[in-house]
């Protein structure tokens, strides 16, 4: 259990949130031109890093807004929280 600082509501407990997987994955501009492998790469393959990871989260039981978070997956330390559309902090 840890506290997440929702960019809209402030500090809330983790149980109010839902994790939404890896952030900043771009949809290919021309999906029809991709091979099956490339498409599968985009659709299914995620990094699952042990260490600092960029993630999407949703404040499901609060404001229901999506935002991005930089989290160390090994100790759940939250490095940064930023809104959708904002530039990710560099390290």
């Amino acid at each position: 259990m840890f506290i997440i600082n929702c960019p809209f509501c402030g500090e809330r407990e983790q149980s109010e949130f839902k994790a939404g997987g890896e952030a900043h994955i771009l949809r290919p501009k021309q999906p029809t031109e991709l091979s099956d492998d490339e498409w599968a790469e985009y659709l299914f393959m995620r990094k699952n890093i042990k260490g600092v990871q960029f993630e999407r989260w949703n404040h499901a039981h609060g404001c229901r807004k999506w935002f991005n978070m930089v989290r160390d997956t090994s100790n759940d330390e939250i490095k940064a929280v930023y809104k959708m559309g904002e530039k990710p902090p560099l390290e």
Binding site: F8, G10, E11, R12, H61, G62, C63
Partner: protein, 187 residues
Amino acid sequence: MLNYNQALPKDTLIQDLQMKEIKPIMKLIIRGKKREFISAIGKSLNILLPTEANTSTQSDKLSALWLSPDEWMIFSNDPIDENTNDYETEKLLNNNISKLNLGAVTDVTDQFVMINLRGNKIYELFQTGSPFNFNDFQNKKGAVTQTILNKIDIIVHNHDKNAVNLFVRRSFSQHLFSWMNDAASRL
């Protein structure tokens, strides 16, 4: 079809904590992002929408709760006429907001049940089932939060000292109410 049936069994008073369903209260959810949306609401209802997170505003007849950066709940301060489901406020907003494509207006009168809690042990009761930190909340009149109580989504509005409005979805209300009665008896 109107459903003004009582959702909850009866008012209860346990250890100085009074719990009571207030009905019928008109409730609307309004959503919109544009600046014109906020000013149109202000002009139509004579109420300023709170733009600061977790706050609320109040006029003679209505209260507005901040739910998210583009979502607010508006409810009537006093119970409305039971025999009609035409709300002047909703009509006004339909004309001034929905029809002009400024935002969305949804009637949630029957979706949410409003429970009024009174007493000095309200927050002790919340502490038994909510992960939210109520320390600052309880001293700030007009504070609003959406959180979980006994794993059920709720909206809490700090109405006055030792008086709180709690909104819960109708289908969860009975279970939450009986849980609150049970929890209150053990405080």
